[in-house]
């Protein structure tokens, strides 16, 4: 799984080839992992993790930080998505990038490694290490190769996320002082903070975790770094940032925040009402910004905010519902996990497309575009599929995530938030149809400016088609994905008190 690009010379062509080759190798390995996990799930032997690496790292007596990796039905699809997006992004970069190729490819592979590590780590400190180290290549990718306003955007990305991360680190140490282990599963099994003490320690620790995840997710009101970073990021880095980097937060919510803190989580959902409000606000606010936004890239970034709102909503529903209505909780959690995966494919495709458009038109302003469908029918198709998938059109992958989240949450305590979410989705749909489709692709050609536009070329199709294929295949036939996700989540829910 781990690859280090150690052949850096000034020969850009070789570097490009090696970079893409390694990414493909990782992609193949990630498929192997998926297949293995699927087999384990099919056995129903009840073992959670596909056994991976396990080495002691810092094992001085009071400490026992281990280098433990493992995959299950929750992480395997995300690892695959990361590998796929990185491969496509590097392929795209190999075609477009001219400056500082060597550093770019190295950083990109470091980012991929960190994302893998985040999805696979079964030790809290290891998770934190990958979580934070991943920020450094993200910072540099945006800061060095980005577009206008890149330095500010990169710094904002870095500091926002780092702030959340250090809170998480302290919470990890607090968990350790309670549970006596850094092991993700072991710590959850030890039920930290279940003693007779005040529940507030647990709640503060939970909030620290939640804020770290909410910042990266990104959830309203911590989302402001994201559109800025996405606007400034180079296209290829933007796709990975949106598709996989944000996904780590959704994954963290399901894998760490929920099992470690079931009680505080339920408290903040059902009694304090903070989390469902944030989730609903993310969806609604994201949708409203989409309505007001004419910059295509920012619009797509806010679509991510909308989609990730559903992840929060799903986990909230599971947190509050798992004791009352296990079926609904399982549905909501599966929806959240599906949504994380779907968002990877959808946001990836959309960002690629935005990049492709930008290369031709040099603008992100929808008002100056118009009638592109005539010149770029292929691009129009991609926008339709990915955009509608984001809005949960049946038959596309986004549908399942949103459907399950709704299904799991309408009956429970957070039904109002789910309704607000549905309303938000409506706004977002209106925005996509009205703005992107009508303004950008249909309608009158905006003067003679775009007459000479070239449609999506073959190599660009290579970057788009795998993602669209996923969107459609898993939209029509989600069973392979759903089965392994459900197997992993059933186990996760079973272990909650």
């Amino acid at each position: 799984m781990f690859l280090i690009l150690a052949v850096p010379r000034d020969d850009a062509r070789t570097i490009r080839r090696i970079g893409v080759a390694f990414a493909i190798a990782a992609l193949v390995l990630s498929i192997v992992v998926w297949v293995n996990v699927a087999q384990v799930a099919a056995d129903e032997s009840g073992s959670l993790a596909y056994p991976g690496e396990d080495h002691a790292w810092i094992s001085a007596p009071p400490f026992n930080v281990r280098f433990t990796l493992g995959a299950d039905g929750l992480s395997a699809p995300m690892v695959f998505m990361t590998a796929l997006l990185t491969t496509l992004a590097l392929y795209y970069s190999a075609r477009t990038l001219e400056v500082r190729v060597k550093e770019y490819f190295i950083l990109f592979l470091v980012l991929e490694t960190c994302l893998f590590g985040t999805f696979l780590a079964l030790d809290l400190v290891l998770f934190y290490v990958f979580w934070v180290v991943g920020l450094v290549p993200a910072l540099l990718l945006v800061g060095v190769w980005g577009g206008e306003g890149r330095e500010r955007a990169a710094l904002k990305l870095f500091l926002f996320n780092l702030l959340g991360s250090v809170m998480m680190l302290l919470a990890i140490l607090a968990v350790y002082s309670q549970a006596g282990t850094f092991d993700v599963l072991g710590a959850a099994a030890a039920r930290p903070f279940s003693g007779a003490e005040t529940p507030w320690t647990a709640r503060v620790a939970f909030l620290a975790f939640f804020v770290a995840f909410a910042i990266r997710l990104p959830s309203f009101p911590f989302h402001t770094w994201m559109p800025e970073a996405q606007t400034a990021a180079p296209t290829a880095a933007g796709t990975v940032l949106a598709g996989a980097f944000l996904g780590t937060a959704g994954y963290g919510l399901i894998r760490i925040a929920l099992p470690l803190f079931p009680a505080p989580f339920a408290y903040f959902v059902a009694e304090a009402w903070v989390l469902p409000v944030l989730a609903a606000a993310s969806i609604l606010y994201g949708a409203l910004v989409c309505l007001a936004q004419w910059d295509l890239r920012r619009l797509v970034a806010h679509l991510s905010v909308v989609q990730m709102g559903f992840v929060t909503l799903g986990v909230c529903a599971a947190a509050v519902g798992h004791a009352i209505d296990p079926a609904a909780a399982a549905s909501a959690l599966a929806g959240a996990a599906m949504q994380v995966f779907a968002h990877g494919a959808i946001a990836g495709a959309l960002f690629f497309l935005v990049g492709i458009l930008y290369r031709r038109t040099d603008t992100h302003d929808l008002r100056s575009l118009g009638g592109l469908a005539r010149r770029m029918p292929h691009a129009y198709g991609v926008v339709l599929v990915a955009g509608l998938a984001a809005l949960g059109l049946p038959g596309l992958v986004g549908f399942w995530g949103e459907l399950f989240v709704f299904k799991g949450s309408v009956g429970g305590a957070i039904a109002p938030a789910a309704f607000v979410g549905a309303l938000g989705l409506l706004f977002a749909a209106a925005c996509v149809v009205w703005k992107v489709v009508q303004h950008g692709f249909l309608g009158e050609m905006n003067g003679e400016k775009w007459v000479g536009l070239e449609d999506v070329t073959t190599w660009e199709k290579v970057t788009l088609w795998p993602l669209l294929l996923l969107v459609i295949v898993f939209g029509v036939y989600p069973a392979p994905l759903l089965d392994i996700v459900n197997a992993a989540l059933a186990l996760l829910l079973e272990r909650l008190p």
Binding site: I58, A60, P61, E151, L155, L163, V166, M167, L173
Partner: protein, 495 residues
């Protein structure tokens, strides 16, 4: 104890002293030109010998000469300090040669005397011995500060450093004599038993003494608000000496602080234990915050690093305050991490100064193009200094925070963590210039005729290599290192 045994226990100190004397002698000989390049080699040989002698004493635990103790704690501190000193000498060797420093023999001899002082201070179990050792260190460092004559700023720095330190030493001495007056002894254990016997009556008299001692030692490790002259001194001092001042004296300072407070005022006391911890806690919080926030506005790289090092002292104090075996081990580990991180960064700065000709942050623009072989290690060291995983600095912070949380000092860990974020912003300003900004045309001319990618001179490359390897290796081997250091920490924490 026979004379031979005593001499053997003193071996690291004696080696350093002998080598220092040899260097003084060589310095007095009329050696010219090329042959002087062997002086740093002689110094390094002495350091290596002392290192070897120290390591061989790992399993010894014995008191000798009634004021010294050879135990794992002293050995651990000695090893860290000698590694740091070795790196400093490597860098200084290069500097002294290119800047044509006069009287190079004594220059290195002073470094070795500092090593001697640290070895003594780490072993001192008596107030007087500790103070004498720290004063020896102080005197050598004043001279080093002003060693490059002809630069008025260096002279100013030396005078400032001298006056300030002497004043604070006087305070410390006053506090120590007070402690002696109250308890009737200068031995740490004797003080502990005297205090234990009648804690309540002695408390009013000991408290002022504690404040005075804490102030004095806070100045030794450059804790805020007693750090004032540090950045000023560093702006006017040769960079290798800055590297020395930022790292080495604080190793000695922390060694003495840990032994003094934990042995003389052990944790089983009822109120006095809480007293000194509260005092240092406040100092830790102020130091972390003050150092970090002051670093935000620094435009001089040396000053920037100086303030970050000031903040480092605050993080280390967290571990001292935790006063547990885990905390002390974390402090020792952090000292090691700091040795590699801070010294590595300063080595890189010295190497880059050949291109930039100045220490202004802006002059580092585009250095990743001109000198990538220095810029990348610099980045690694800076990240380690700010506690970014998975480097040494991160493991150190992890240990320190964990020790604090274990002792119920969550708030101190929170203060530390937030300062960690701010310090990353400080470092970002330098990293941004290094990696994102295009090279400045003016910088090209400042250093005269500069080739586009000149090789890094060998001593600097070696020092940089050791530092970067150290930053990674200490993190990778953190488990076994921490286990070793816990053995060392038990000596002082379980009294």
């Amino acid at each position: 104890m026979t004379l031979e045994q005593t001499l053997w226990l003193l071996a690291p100190e004696l080696v350093l002293l002998g080598d220092g004397a040899l260097l003084l002698l060589l310095g007095a000989l009329p050696i010219r030109g090329d042959k002087r390049r062997w002086l740093p080699v002689v110094a390094l040989g002495g350091i290596a010998g002392a290192l070897f002698a120290a390591v061989s004493q790992w399993n010894v635990e014995v008191r000798f000469l009634s004021v010294l103790s050879c135990d794992r704690f002293s050995v651990a501190v000695d090893v860290i300090a000698l590694v740091a000193l070795g790196l400093v000498v490597l860098v200084s060797g290069f500097y002294a040669r290119t800047r044509r420093v006069r009287y190079q023999g004594p220059f290195y001899a002073l470094f070795l005397l500092c090593g001697l002082a640290i070895c003594l201070s780490s072993a001192a179990t008596d107030l007087v011995m500790a103070l004498v050792a720290l004063e020896l260190l102080g005197i050598a460092s004043y001279v080093l500060t002003g060693y490059v004559r002809g630069d008025p700023r260096a002279g100013e720095a030396a005078i400032k450093h001298f006056l300030y330190s002497v004043a604070l030493s006087a305070l410390t001495l006053y506090g120590l004599s007070w402690l002696y007056g109250v308890t009737g002894s200068t031995g740490l254990e004797a003080i502990a038993s005297a205090v234990r016997a009648s804690e309540a009556e002695l408390r009013p008299a000991i408290l002022p003494a504690l404040v005075l001692i804490a102030v004095g030692f806070a100045a030794k490790v450059a804790a805020v608000p007693f750090h004032r002259p540090v950045p000023d001194v560093h702006a006017g001092t040769p960079a290798p000496v800055v590297a020395f001042l930022l790292v080495v004296p604080s190793i000695a300072g922390f060694a003495v602080i840990m032994r003094l407070f934990l042995v003389a005022l052990p944790v089983d006391l009822v109120v006095l234990d809480a007293d000194w911890r509260t005092l240092l806690m406040a100092l830790a919080a102020i130091t972390m915050t003050g150092g970090t926030f002051a670093a935000i506005w620094q435009d001089n790289v040396k000053r920037l690093l100086a303030y970050l090092a000031v903040a480092q002292a605050g993080y280390l104090l967290i571990g001292v305050v935790a006063a547990s075996g885990q905390g002390i081990a974390a402090v020792l580990f952090a000292l090691l991490a700091q040795t590699f991180g801070t010294l590595g960064a300063l080595t890189a700065i010295v190497a880059l100064a050949r291109h930039t000709g100045s220490y202004a942050v802006e002059s580092y623009a585009g250095m990743h193009k001109q000198a990538p072989e220095v810029a990348w290690p610099l980045l690694v060291c800076l990240l380690s200094m700010t506690g970014v995983p998975p480097l040494a600095g991160f493991v150190a912070r992890l240990g320190l925070y964990a020790a604090a949380i274990e002792q119920g000092l969550l708030w101190l860990a929170v203060v530390g963590a937030f300062n960690g974020v701010v310090s990353l912003y400080c470092v970002w300003r330098l990293v941004r210039v290094l990696f994102l900004a295009p090279p400045v045309a003016g910088a090209q001319q400042a250093g005269g005729a500069i080739r586009r990618r000149p090789a890094v001179p060998l001593p600097l490359a070696v020092a940089l290599g050791i530092a970067v390897t150290g930053v990674f290796a200490t993190a990778l081997l953190a488990g076994s290192l921490l286990t070793l250091l816990q053995g060392a920490a038990q000596v002082v924490s379980s009294v």
